[in-house]
């Protein structure tokens, strides 16, 4: 017998080669970035726990423990990501971000609490912020509730009024003649400039705050809606009119849907403005609220608390933006490029 591979063994080894991917599938594919991320998180935990703080911030052990627990979860997920379908793909997609987050937390700990390059009270390490949530969560929750109440009443009444005003301004020439110059004059004025007037116009400071938030969110919606309605292709009106449409139909079924992409631009602007104005609106004699919390803590130089509240505000705001995107994509799915087939 020669040692040359005969056709039979060649075929056998080919089958074996082919089987290899199937064998590999039995063991889940490892999510490498997940393991690296777990490493960087452990590093951040070690830096937090084992190096002493120059000035103590509190909750050091707890925060390091949570980071370590997070690292453990990442290790488990590294083996499971392959089997988790959509969630798994999301994890894998953001893998580099989890790695960066661990590194960033470690560096942040070092330059603030450990080396003191960015000193207290102007800066705080991650566990310092975490300590605020641990010790002050009850008050923060009440503040979130108060802010949510003020914001939602102000924002939704503002955009409702702004939308109706915008449609009227875009539709009626008379309305535009009298209204547009006024709106152009008021538009660039920051909503906070109206505070003195609101004190006189509204019986309670809460109503005055609502008005300020409504104004900030309503004006961009009004302006964008008006320009949207105003620039609707005239041919759409001609088509609808020859098919028997009356004025009501033209406004509700032609002008408004055609202007909707513009309306959403206004809504996004209004959302950002309304959050920017919250701090000012809650200056008006509010007892609680995130904006009030920011001012109160700034006055006491408790900047760590300020940062902690800012992070909450940023998360809520970006969550609402995300929500608005979902609503937009649903309502404007007819737009080219959004829906493909």
């Amino acid at each position: 017998m020669t040692s040359w591979p005969d056709p039979m063994t060649q075929a056998m080894s080919a089958i074996a080669d082919r089987k290899e991917p199937a064998l590999r599938a039995a063991f889940p594919v490892l999510w490498h970035n997940g393991l690296i991320a777990a490493g960087t998180w452990l590093l951040a935990a070690a830096v937090t726990f084992f190096l002493p703080d120059i000035v103590p911030y509190g909750s050091r052990g707890l925060f390091a423990g949570i980071l370590a627990a997070g690292a453990a979860v990442l290790i488990v997920l590294s083996f499971l990501a392959d089997r988790l379908g959509r969630i798994g793909r999301g994890l894998v997609h953001y893998g580099p971000w989890y790695i960066a987050l661990g590194i960033w937390l470690a560096i942040w700990e070092l330059i603030t609490a450990k080396f003191g390059w960015l000193p207290k009270p102007f800066f705080a390490p991650p566990h310092g912020l975490f300590h605020v949530y641990v010790t002050d969560w009850e008050r923060l929750l009440i503040c979130i509730f108060y802010t949510a109440r003020l914001w939602s009443i102000g924002f939704f009444s503002g955009i409702a009024f702004g939308f109706v005003l915008g449609v009227a301004l875009g539709w009626s020439k008379t309305f535009a003649y009298w209204g547009m110059p006024v709106l152009k004059l008021i538009g660039p004025v920051p909503a906070s400039a109206w505070i003195p007037a609101t004190f006189f116009l509204f019986p309670t400071t809460f109503q005055a705050s609502i008005f300020i938030v409504a104004l900030a969110s309503g004006i961009p919606v009004a302006i964008l809606t008006a320009s949207g309605v105003n620039t609707v292709n005239r041919a759409y009106y001609d088509v609808a009119r020859t098919l028997g449409a009356d004025g009501r139909f033209l406004v509700r079924r032609v002008a408004v849907p055609a202007a909707l992409p513009n309306v959403f631009v206004g809504l996004f602007m209004g959302l950002y403005y309304s959050f920017a104005i919250l701090v000012v609106a809650e200056m008006l004699g509010a007892k609680y609220g995130l904006g009030w919390y920011l001012q109160f803590q700034t006055a006491y130089s408790a900047y760590v608390n300020v940062y902690a509240a800012l992070i909450i505000m940023a998360l809520i705001c970006s969550g609402l933006v995300k929500l608005l995107f979902l609503v937009r994509d649903r309502l404007l799915s007819w737009q080219k490029g959004v829906v493909q087939w």
């Binding site: 041919a235 088509v239 028997g244 139909f249 079924r253 849907p257 055609a258 007819w334 087939w341």
Partner: protein, 262 residues
């Protein structure tokens, strides 16, 4: 085509008589006045297919807008079945060169605009389906306009007009933007739909051959401001063929009237 037959059967009307009486029209451009129509006299018999030919920008489209009631003439009168036209009405539907489908509505919802605007949407489900079948778009009912080809979009626009049982169909170069093959098949479809339903048609085109293939009468208009320059009665039987000597002959004659002598 069962569906097509039912839509045609349900249309009880025969067609609208249109009477343009000494119609002149002009547009105010602010600094100057642009005369577009100059004393047009034109009668369309019920169920007649009339084509309007003329150089581009001569005011053909304005003529259709006046007949549709989207505008009222500066001088003269537009009568529909003897009644002065003052506003648009779904019995006189205009189909534009651009399909102008509403991009936020599906094809079916676009076709449903007429019934919806008149408040009879609930009772019109079957009619809308019939209209979609008539233009062979039933399988594209739930598709958005940007997903349609040019020919399909124009067929959808046609269905949107036909669902209202028009007595007068005003076609403003509806095939102008289509490629030549789609154009040929759409010409046949326009003809078939008209023969089935019996409405009157005013077709604006600048394709001489198209006018001669489709219409019973071809009105040739002059340069702006438009006047009726010639009237050619085309009483040839359908289907007509573009190489029919009569058509070739008339085509040359009309081109000569339009100033394209060979």
């Amino acid at each position: 085509m069962v569906a097509a037959a039912t839509l045609a059967e349900r249309s009880t009307q025969t067609g609208l008589a249109v009477d343009l009486h000494a119609v002149s029209h002009q547009y105010d451009l602010g600094k100057s006045i642009l005369p577009v129509l100059d004393g047009i006299d034109l009668k369309v018999a019920p169920g007649e297919f009339v084509a309007l030919l003329g150089p581009s920008g001569c005011g053909k489209s304005t003529l259709l807008r006046l007949a549709a009631g989207l505008e009222t003439p500066a001088r003269g009168e537009v009568l529909a079945d003897g009644v002065t036209v003052t506003k648009p009405d779904p019995s006189r539907v205009l189909v534009f060169q651009d399909p102008t489908l509403f991009p936020w509505r599906t094809v079916r919802d676009n076709v449903a605009i007429g019934p919806q605007a008149r408040g009879v949407l609930a009772a019109s489900g079957a009619r809308i389906d019939d209209a979609l079948k008539l233009v062979k778009l039933e399988s594209f009912a739930n598709v958005f306009p940007h997903q349609l080809s040019g020919g399909m979009a124009q067929r959808a626009a046609l269905a949107r007009a036909l669902v209202n049982d028009p007595e007068l169909l005003l076609l403003d170069e509806p095939l102008g933007r289509l490629d030549s093959l789609t154009r040929l098949s759409m010409q046949q479809e326009l003809l078939a739909l008209w023969q089935r339903a019996g409405y009157s048609v005013m077709l604006v085109t600048h394709d001489v051959e198209e006018a001669l293939l489709l219409a019973q009468r071809v009105i040739v208009l002059s340069e702006r401001p438009a006047r009726v320059k010639a009237e050619i009665v085309a009483d040839r039987p359908y289907p007509r063929h573009r190489d029919d000597p009569w058509i070739v002959d008339k085509r040359r004659e009309i081109l000569e009237i339009l100033g394209f002598a060979e």
